[in-house]
Subunit: 573 residues, 2 copies
């Protein structure tokens, strides 16, 4: 027999590495061990299984040609042995063996390896609050939980649900409950925005409004302090502010690496628990590899390690681990944090660094906020994308791109292209000329990504002066903050009319851009004018003109009404 | 007054440059001159106007905020003067003046410039055959023609149409006629495939089948030899093979740069007629710029110049011209030939070089042909993408990506990401690890682009031996060519059954991959086995296994049934 390769973990990185190494070294003896009886499933599909989009859990465990990936599949199709319901207790690195226990029989045994791979995945964070063990409180951490959740809903046992955590999984679960099952769902998030650290707050605000429009109740800055129960069953969730009724509670408060086995074996593990690997996915013991949700990977922009528990990365990392276990020296150099999700009719996505993260990392970061049409504006199905491009003023490097918009092709192409470009160190000028494929059904002649770079360049070069959106909103919430501010609305007078009516001419002045070259003398000289239009580009045009005639008391609200409308605000007429 | 900037051409590059330069130099005196009375329109939208998707031609000439871009618009919104219906007759470079004639009044005059820009666009190729001047023969070269075409159809004057030319515009026009107007449409293409030079033949074959399925009659390798008329009106098109009836003929046989003005002025013009510019869009006279369909641009992969008449590039080039005319030294470094189009329910796209072009350019080029699911295979709306990744075996650089598949988000993200990556010189291993944003509604955990790179790597490293698709099809058309060949169908026996029934076991052997490890002794030793499955990946798995046990008389058909079915073949059961 050939090399003995033992892989601990059978969901994503493990099976990928196993199949790859077996193809490269057909005579290797490859064994996958997993503590669960269900293996090699698409965990990212769980929300769609719960919603009913995916009818049957076996679909998540099947190949594209409809064969269930169980022990027999791996044996017959791949020549790989799998030990399911088997927990690995310890690693003896000196002897190159592992100790494992069969969860069904209780028997233990020792298995020798030449090369070991840890693909032990993640475990969900459980809040340290009372009531987390009540019946009806679930994490979304494996297929068994998913089956149990769906069963309860399908049996009509769930009228109200509370989701704790406004990350991707929490939002996807809230959609699944509300959209297809009509469950009254409340989502609470401890931070002041949804998707914290992933997107900046304006993008999250657009998402939040959409969730609320779709009947998900969202409470931000509200953590769960207790899970309430009766007779051992969950009945609600307590926050600092209120008690929420619930027949079902989802705890989606993030995951952390499952690295105890590695730790016990004395392998290097990061402060936050990720197994440390080099670019060949080798741990600090060269005979032990690791990949997937249990490792940290280098961030290709910051140069630091980060934690990116995603099925897509797990597969790519697993393949590189497989290569190296077979003696082929390929490398996985790291990631840039690409993210995308569907939430009802909206898609939100990001790659690279958010503005908040970029500044925390020490970059001289700024952002362009744009809201262009996602395809030729004359094309019938066109929609609006809200887009933020984060860049470093010093180097002009683009650090990140985020967007929220229609649930079609408008977002993914921009994010994926940006991910590729970012990875190669592209700057604002590269993005301005990026050759996005163009035809009216797909994009604008000036693509979203080009437009974002144009604006970024104008900001960077000091040609466009913008007001911070947060500062603008604070003022609108309390106009007494800046008595010398006024909005100059350059849209069509009919569009401006409701605003002028609500706020008065002293605060909201309508002067369309078509007339600005004739009527600029009417503008107030003792006020700071915030120029306002639909997307920001006409405001910029007006700013340039006003500057040129010496009227400099003006500043542009980037993104304009397109963004404000989608974020929502109580003061909007 | 400031600098006098005169721009000849008012469709895409011209207006873009004019607006940009006017923002950068507000006191510049900017004049756009165009021989037409309609300017600044989305020419790429013409097929959608003809089809009726875009109801009104003014939509093509309007801004996203519904203002028609006419002379008044440019004056009032932009401070730019426009002279329409005005033809520029000549340039006097020594005096820095142009001579122009008003087409309405016939009066001529001289206009001085400090900086001149040529955005004279393209003109359609007209075949040198009899009958091209008949009433009812149209090119799709400007909005007036589009209006005339639509009028004829809307009046019910067109029962049958012939489109000459199987490029993007010809195909889009054929769709417009057939899909929305029910016109009986025949498309003829002189070359042996649609979209010649843009995509390789297998992609074009998928497109061609789809057009035929949608009731467009397509004749390949058939050029028009004469346009037939009666009483001055078109009645048909003659080819070497047949006469085709037609009430309307579209000549969509490509365009060429409109560079006579530049040529007459002694500016450097390429052999194929494109105005030669440097990266700052300057012609051989530093006071004269040029951009858009009248120039050639550097190809970022081949290092040669190429002609890419696209509205998107025209805008990007125009902006760079505008920058430089205003004294800002930005550069347009070139393009990679990104292309995308809708054809009924299918999207086809490409970036970089096709295999044919890459080989003609001298690369040691090869290709991976894959046909994966475009999103998580359990997700309800998943479809199949046919994808070709072209790479250089010597350097492992990826040279191009092409794909054809569902008319949704599956294709554009892959092409745009590839364009960005190609531009930065990415190789197969970069593409294997490209971090495409993943969630089940958008992509597979192993993205189309990653999978294409995996297969490319396996081919490059000699791990995967594939049969050329063309060679396979030739054999299926004439089985006597290779009496020692046999197909080994490793799909489910039910899928293989119709093939086995049609061709017999001696030619089409069914042995599913799940049983290959047990039953490989049944395989013939005196035949060359072409391993066949749905997409190619299971065939590769079987090849690896057979190789490992010393059975080497096998070769994989990449893309498998997924590609064959979409290309169509008379022999398919």
């Amino acid at each position: 027999m050939g090399k003995k390769i033992v892989i601990v973990g059978g969901v994503a990185a493990g099976p990928k590495a196993a199949c790859r190494v077996k193809r490269l070294l057909p005579d290797a003896e490859v064994t996958i061990i997993d503590q669960d009886n269900l293996i090699s499933y698409g965990g990212c599909g769980i929300p769609y299984y719960v919603s009913g989009d995916v009818a049957d859990d076996s679909a998540l465990r099947s190949t594209s040609f409809h064969v269930v990936r169980d022990e027999n599949y791996f044996q017959n199709f791949k020549g790989i042995k799998t030990l399911t319901s088997t927990e690995v207790l310890s690693i003896d690195r000196a002897r190159k063996t592992i100790e494992a226990r069969n969860g069904l029989t209780g028997s233990t045994g020792t298995i020798a390896y030449d090369t070991l791979m840890l693909a032990t995945g993640s475990r969900p964070n459980i809040l340290p609050i009372p009531g987390v063990d009540l019946d009806g409180v679930f994490t979304v951490s494996n297929l068994h939980k998913a089956i149990a959740i769906k069963e309860r809903i399908a049996k009509g046992q769930v009228g109200k649900a509370v989701v704790i955590g406004g990350g991707a999984i929490g939002i996807e679960m809230a959609e699944a409950f509300t959209d297809l099952w009509g469950v009254e769902t409340t989502l609470i998030e401890f931070q002041s925005q949804l998707l914290p650290k992933i997107v900046d707050w304006p993008m999250a605000a657009v998402l939040c409004k959409h969730l609320r429009d779709k009947n998900v109740t969202v409470h931000l800055q509200e953590g769960a302090t207790e899970i309430l129960g009766r007779d051992g069953r969950v009945v609600g969730v307590r926050t600092k502010t209120r008690d929420l009724e619930a027949d079902l509670v989802i705890m989606a408060t993030g995951v952390r690496p499952r690295s105890e086995l590695a730790q016990q074996a004395g392998l290097q593990v990061s402060k936050s628990g990720g197994i440390v690997v080099n670019q060949r996915m080798q741990t600090s013991d060269p005979d032990i590899y690791a990949a997937g949700d249990c490792v940290e990977i280098p961030h290709l922009l910051t140069g630091r390690s980060f934690y990116a528990p995603l099925g897509s990365l797990a597969n790519r990392e697993g393949r590189v681990a497989g290569d190296n276990m077979a003696g082929i020296p390929t490398t996985f150099t790291g990631g840039v944090g690409s993210f995308i999700m569907k939430a009802f009719d909206v898609c939100i996505a990001a790659t690279g660094l958010s503005l908040e993260t970029a500044r925390a990392e020490g970059y001289d970061a700024d952002v362009s906020l744009t809201a262009p049409a996602d395809r030729a504006h004359f094309f019938p199905s066109q929609g609006i994308v809200c887009c933020m491009m984060v860049f470093d003023r010093r180097t002009r490097k683009v650090l990140g791109l985020q967007a929220v918009g229609p649930m079609n092709d408008s977002i993914s192409a921009r994010i994926d292209a940006a991910a590729a470009y970012l990875t190669k160190g592209a700057d604002i000028d590269d993005f301005a000329n990026l050759e996005m494929a163009y035809a009216p059904p797909f994009s604008s002649a000036i693509d979203t990504i080009n437009a974002a770079a144009y604006v970024a360049g104008n900001i960077c070069d000091g040609r466009l002066r913008t007001i911070d959106l947060g500062q603008f909103l604070e003022w609108m919430d309390d106009l007494s903050r800046h008595p010398d501010w006024i909005v100059l609305d350059v849209r069509h007078p009919q569009q401006a009319a409701p605003f002028v009516e609500k706020f008065g001419k002293g605060l909201w002045l309508s002067l369309p851009d078509s007339e600005i070259r004739q009527r600029y003398q009417e503008l107030p000289q003792d006020k700071n004018m915030i120029i306002f239009c639909n997307a920001g580009s006409r405001s910029y045009e007006v700013q340039v003109f006003l500057d040129s005639i010496g009227v400099k008391n003006n500043i542009v609200l980037s993104g304009g009404f397109n963004v404000l409308k989608r974020m929502g605000a109580s003061w909007l007429p």
